[in-house]
């Protein structure tokens, strides 16, 4: 598969901080690539360098085998996390304005339908709700029929239903062959949408790969969780690793049946017990010692 975008040894130095520290990675065409990390990890700076809105101190960005330039600007769609739009313009006028800035043009009617903006076309930008506004920002990112779309924290601030609708929309865009680069704080979002992820910490990439493979490589066990209030005896006899965090006992095990039998002797009941796979949040916690949420 062709490489759509490549970051080569990106460095961004500010007077008092090294925001991006020699970051390199490749994004294959047609995939959804997730860049994950807590606030201050350098992911937004990295993405903005790739988008061409922030100059790198050193390093290069390549787009389909050549340095990113005017062709990239014509073919990339970008949704920033916080973008103000022009006051007093309607949704349709805003889309028209942005589309006129590009030589490549998508079918605006199709985008309006895809992003469920049909009934909002004549509405003033200032009168949109959070979810409607995010859909408009995504539609703006699509007006040039992009081969590559950047989505920076696209669902921050949305309610659960709006987030799920947005995920469906992103999946449809990806299904049309568009490459997507997503930054997010939400691990469920990354796990559902991303074919490949890179985790950033202190300006560096500390892990990269397919989410399932990363988790399989890091974890061979499952986790049994039980509220501490349910425990009546000493758990030190249980063979597996036991952790206690925020009133929850976590037991890592490869043999759930045996662990449950052992556990039954030391607890009041198993009604509030949960068995789960390790997820990206666990992975990040183990790799960095930080929570991934802001």
């Amino acid at each position: 598969m062709q490489i759509a975008l490549e970051a080569r040894h990106l460095v961004k130095r500010y007077p008092d901080v090294l925001a991006v520290d020699d970051v390199s990675f490749q994004v294959r065409q047609g995939i959804c690539f997730g860049l994950l990390g807590p606030n201050g990890a350098g992911k937004t700076t990295t993405v903005e360098i790739m988008e061409g809105v922030t100059p790198a101190s050193s390093g290069e960005v390549w787009y389909f085998g050549e340095p990113a330039g005017q062709k990239f600007r014509q073919e990339a769609g970008i949704q920033f996390q916080n973008t103000a739009l022009q006051d007093y313009l309607t949704v349709r006028e805003t889309l028209d304005m942005f589309q006129t800035l590009y030589d490549r043009k998508a079918d605006l009617a199709h985008i309006i339908e895809e992003c469920s903006l049909g009934e909002l076309q004549d509405r003033d930008n200032r009168k949109l709700s959070g979810g409607q506004r995010q859909r408009l920002l995504l539609a703006i990112a699509l007006v040039n029929k992009p081969r590559l779309v950047f989505l920076d924290e696209p669902t921050t601030g949305l309610d659960p239903q709006a987030r799920r609708n947005f995920w469906d929309l992103v999946q449809r865009i990806r299904a049309e062959g568009t490459t997507i680069i997503l930054t997010t704080h939400y691990m469920d979002e990354a796990q559902i949408l991303c074919d490949e992820i890179a985790i950033m910490e202190s300006g560096k990439i500390i892990a990269q790969g397919n989410p399932e493979e990363l988790l399989r490589k890091q974890y061979q066990h499952v986790v049994i969780e039980l509220p501490l209030t349910e425990v009546s005896g000493d758990l030190s006899n249980i063979e597996h690793r036991v952790l206690e965090t925020q009133g929850i006992i976590e037991i890592e095990t490869n043999d759930v049946n045996k662990t449950l039998q052992d556990l039954a002797k030391h607890v009041h009941g198993l009604n509030r017990l949960k068995i789960r796979q390790r997820n990206l949040e666990d992975l990040f916690l183990d790799l960095t010692g930080h929570s991934l949420r802001p």
């Binding site: 988008e51 061409g52 809105v53 005017q70 600007r73 014509q74 990339a76 970008i78 920033f80 916080n82 973008t83 103000a84 739009l85 022009q86 006051d87 007093y88 313009l89 006028e93 805003t94 028209d96 304005m97 942005f98 006129t100 800035l101 590009y102 030589d103 703006i140």
Partner: protein
Amino acid sequence: MLQRIFAIFRARNIEFVRDRSAMGWNIIMPVVLMFGLSFIFGGGDRAEYTVGILQSSDTIDETAHPFLRTRYMQFVVVDDETQGFRKVGQHQLDLLVQLDSPPRYWVNPDSPKGYFAELALLQTFDGRIEKGQISGEAIRYVDWVLPGILAMNMMFSCLFGVGYVIVRYRKNGFLKRLRATPLRAIEFIIAQVASRLMLIITITTFVFLGTKYFLDTRFEGSYLVLLLVAFVGATALISMGLLIAARVTSEELAGGLLNLVMWPMMMLSGVWFSLEAADEWVRQVAAAFPLTHILNAARAVMLDGAGLTEVMPQILALVAMSAVFLVLGAVLFRWHPR
């Protein structure tokens, strides 16, 4: 390129036209000022006597003649006879006096203040002095101040309407969003200049025609030349606004900087009073302001009937200022805060 410029131009126009408070202010402010001043200065006369002394030297030596020590008279140097005659004709000077041999003076027989200034002159003059007469209609203060009000409104609209708006766009991230498109800085700047130019010329024309109709203000020259002066003047002011806003990210700082530029222009460019009697250094400072050149050219066209050739120095100065401001603005322009 033209498509992109037009897209930004059109969007900015829509934003301006739909923002009724901003558009209303741009129209109402000069109209209210004009009618207010017309009411206040309905008499049209100044409070003191102004006498032009025709001489080549820049300073007036009070010891040269007792007349120059007359109280309640303001003496100004006139180095060009033709200009002096014109001002006497328009009642801008109550008297024009040449003290060098042979002594001569010119007065407008229709000017009451000229009559009294003449009496004062003859009282202090013990020898023979030759008299000349120059006729002409008085210029009312309203006629004189109209170009100033129009130019001042143009200045407010150009500086705040462009400078402040760009800083707001930069602060709220809209410029950063545009940066991520194929739009170039120069295209964005041209669109802003074109949009504001069109809007301000339309509004100024509307206000000018309104005041002309209701106050019957004086107009001696060519409308086309005046339009050209307005066009290059507005371009210079918009470019100045762009330069001020090229890097600023705070609306408060932008407001402060714009005021820092606007107040000296408003006070020293001759909006409210003539700079003829001002110190040389004041006139030199004023020459650095686009507003001064706009006013000098507009007054020359509107009050004296000056043609394109006569106002060409001001037009060239404004074109040069626009070029410098635009180039600097484009070079220094920053899409988003660091």
